[in-house]
C-alpha cells in the first residue's frame, strides 16, 4: 500500500467485496444493531483501511456513534443492545463466542467527545492507568511509555514539569490530548474517536486535528465528526451515514467534490442536517 496515495483508491462502492484487497483493519459485513425493539443500524458493510483515517459523517441520530461503539464492543455496556452481523479485526471475528471484549478494547482504543481524565489521578497516573491495571510494574518501562505516549499526543513539552499535577488541572484541549495519550499508552492498533474536538475551541481543535493526522503513522483511526471541515482536513476517506444506513463511502476528496448520492450532496452542501 506504500505506492498508493490515499486518494488513489478506486471509489468505494456500497459493496465492499468489490474493493481491492486489504490491508484492512476492519471488515464489516451486514452489521445490524437494535436498541430494544428499535433498529438503529441497517446492514452496514464496509472495509476500514489499515493505518488510514476514516471519517464518519452524518446528521445527529444517524448511528455514527453506535457504529463506532460496535467496533470495540463498547455498545454492550448499554442495556438492551443486540448486534447481528460480522466485524473482523485484522481478519479475526470480534463477535465470536470465545472472544473477550476486554481484550478487543485493549486493541481498539477510544477517545470520547467529553475529555475524561480520571479526576482522582495525576497526569502521569492518567496516562499509565491502563498499563498499571494490566499488571505492568516495571518502572523504567512505564516511564519510557509515559514519555512516548505524551510525546505522541503532543503534550509532553507542556506537562513534563508537572506530571504529578491532577489531570483535571489541564485546559480543555490539553485534557483531550491527555485522553489520547492515555488511549495510546496501552498501544492499541486502532483508535476510535467520537467527536473529539466538538467541545474545544478552534485553537485546541486545530492542535488535535494535527495530532490525529500524525497518529496515522501508527494507528488506524476512525473519526466520528459533525464538522465537515474536520473530516475534509484530516481523513483519507469518508463514510456518510443517514438514518442508520451507510449511504456512501469514498475517498474524502471524491466524496466531498463529487458525491454519487444525492443525500450526500445535500448534507455536505448544508441543505439538511
Amino acid at each position: 500500500m506504500t505506492n498508493k496515495s490515499p486518494f488513489s483508491y478506486p471509489s468505494h462502492p456500497s459493496n465492499p467485496d468489490s474493493n481491492p484487497t486489504g490491508p484492512f483493519a476492519f471488515e464489516i459485513r451486514d452489521l445490524n444493531v437494535w436498541f430494544g425493539t428499535k433498529q438503529s443500524l441497517f446492514n452496514i458493510s464496509m472495509n476500514i483501511f489499515y493505518q488510514q483515517i476514516l471519517a464518519i459523517i452524518g446528521p445527529s441520530g444517524c448511528g455514527k456513534s453506535t457504529f463506532l461503539r460496535c467496533l470495540n464492543r463498547m455498545h454492550e455496556l448499554s442495556p438492551g443492545v443486540r448486534v447481528e452481523g460480522s466485524v473482523k479485526l485484522m481478519g479475526k471475528e470480534i463477535y465470536a463466542a470465545d472472544v473477550d471484549p476486554t481484550l478487543i478494547r485493549r486493541r481498539v482504543g477510544m477517545v470520547f467527545q467529553k475529555s475524561t481524565p480520571f479526576p482522582t489521578m495525576s497526569i502521569e497516573e492518567n496516562v499509565l492507568i491502563g498499563l498499571k491495571l494490566a499488571g505492568i510494574r516495571n518502572r523504567s518501562f512505564l516511564e519510557e511509555r509515559l514519555e512516548q505516549s505524551l510525546r505522541m499526543a503532543a503534550l509532553w513539552d507542556e506537562v513534563k514539569d508537572r506530571l504529578e499535577a491532577p489531570g483535571t488541572s489541564l485546559s480543555g484541549g490539553q485534557q483531550q490530548r491527555l485522553c489520547i495519550a492515555r488511549a495510546i499508552a496501552v498501544q492499541p492498533e486502532v483508535l476510535l474517536m467520537d467527536e473529539p474536538c466538538s467541545a474545544l475551541d478552534p485553537i485546541a481543535t486545530a492542535q488535535i486535528e494535527e495530532l490525529i493526522v500524525s497518529l496515522k503513522k501508527n494507528y488506524t483511526i476512525v473519526l466520528v465528526t459533525h464538522n465537515l471541515q474536520e473530516a475534509g482536513k484530516t481523513s483519507d476517506y469518508t463514510a456518510f451515514f443517514l438514518g442508520g444506513k451507510l449511504i456512501e463511502m469514498d475517498s474524502t476528496k471524491k466524496l466531498f467534490t463529487n458525491p454519487r448520492h444525492k443525500f450526500t450532496e445535500d448534507y455536505i452542501t448544508g441543505r439538511f442536517g
Binding site: M74, T102, M110, F112, K114, T116, F118, I129, R182, A183
Partner: protein, 279 residues
C-alpha cells in the same frame, strides 16, 4: 404598569428566598438549642473521672461512664467492620451488576430494612441470636446495628456512584481494563468522598441507637472485652440514668449525652480533615 409588574416579580423572588432561609433556620435552631442545653445541663458533670471511671453506686461520689464510652466505640467499630464491606459491595452490585429486576429487589429490600423500626430489629436479633445463645452479647448488638447500618451505606454508595460521570466508566472500560478494576480503581476512587460521608452518617446514626441495644447489648456495669458478653453503651447508660429517680444520675445522663454528641462531632471533623488532606 410595567414597572409595577417587575416590582412584583422582584418581590416574589425575594419572598421565595426568605422562605428558604426561614426553613433553614429551623434546621439550625434545634441543633443549637440541643447543644446549648446539653452544655448547660451536662458540662459541669464532665471531668476526668467521668471519662476514665466505671459507674459508682448511687450515693457514692465520683464514678463515670468510661465503660459505656468504650462500649459505644467497640460497637461502632464492629458494626463498621461488618457493615462497610457488605454495604459498599452491595451498593456496587446495585449500581454495576445484576439485571434490572435483581437490582430492584436488592434496592427495595434495603429501603424496607431502612424503614424498619430499630426496636423491631432489636427484637428480631433477640430472637435469632440472643435467645438461642442464651445471653446478651456484643456480637448480637453489632449485628443488630449492622442491619441498620448496611442499607444506609448501600444507598449512599449507589447514589455516590451514580454521581460519577458515565463517561469516566466508559473511558476506563475502553482502555481494556477489567470491570472489577474499573469499579475499584476508577469508580469507587472517584466516588470515595460521597461513600465515606455516607459511612460517617450511618455511623453517627447507629452511635445513638438505643432500642436495638436494649435487647442485645443489654448494658453492663463493668468492663468487657469479650464478644459473647453483654456490654454497656452510651445510649443505654443515658437511658438507664435518665429514668432513674436520682438527681445525680440525671446530671450524668446529660453529661453522657453531651459526650455522645461530641464523639459524633469529632468523627465528622476527623473524616472531613482526612478527606481534605487527600485532595
Amino acid at each position: 404598569m410595567r414597572v409595577a409588574f417587575y416590582r412584583f416579580r422582584k418581590l416574589e423572588n425575594i419572598l421565595v428566598q426568605l422562605l428558604c432561609a426561614f426553613a433553614s433556620f429551623f434546621v439550625i435552631l434545634p441543633f443549637v438549642l440541643i447543644l446549648v442545653y446539653l452544655i448547660v445541663a451536662g458540662a459541669s458533670s464532665i471531668n476526668f473521672d467521668f471519662i476514665t471511671q466505671l459507674p459508682k453506686p448511687i450515693g457514692e461520689k465520683g464514678g463515670g461512664m468510661a465503660n459505656s464510652i468504650v462500649g459505644t466505640l467497640i460497637l461502632m467499630g464492629l458494626t463498621f467492620l461488618i457493615g462497610t464491606p457488605i454495604g459498599i459491595l452491595s451498593g456496587v452490585f446495585v449500581y454495576e451488576y445484576g439485571n434490572e429486576k435483581l437490582r430492584k429487589i436488592v434496592r427495595f429490600s434495603a429501603d424496607l430494612l431502612n424503614g424498619t423500626p430499630s426496636i423491631v430489629i432489636g427484637i428480631l436479633v433477640y430472637g435469632w441470636i440472643v435467645s438461642p445463645m442464651h445471653g446478651f452479647s456484643v456480637m448480637a448488638a453489632s449485628i443488630a446495628l449492622s442491619l441498620i447500618f448496611i442499607p444506609l451505606v448501600l444507598r449512599t454508595t449507589e447514589e455516590s456512584l451514580l454521581l460519577v460521570p458515565k463517561e469516566l466508566r466508559d473511558a476506563a472500560l475502553a482502555l481494556g481494563i477489567r470491570k472489577w478494576k474499573v469499579v475499584c480503581y476508577v469508580l469507587i476512587e472517584t466516588a470515595k468522598q460521597g461513600i465515606l460521608s455516607g459511612i460517617l452518617v450511618a455511623l453517627a446514626r447507629i452511635a445513638g441507637e438505643t432500642a436495638p441495644l436494649l435487647f442485645t447489648a443489654f448494658g453492663n456495669q463493668y468492663w468487657t472485652y469479650r464478644l459473647d458478653e453483654p456490654i454497656s453503651a452510651l445510649p443505654l447508660q443515658i437511658f438507664e440514668y435518665a429514668i432513674s429517680p436520682y438527681e445525680q444520675w440525671h446530671r450524668d445522663a446529660w453529661a453522657g449525652a453531651l459526650v455522645l454528641l461530641l464523639l459524633i462531632f469529632l468523627l465528622h471533623l476527623s473524616v472531613r480533615i482526612l478527606l481534605k488532606k487527600k485532595s
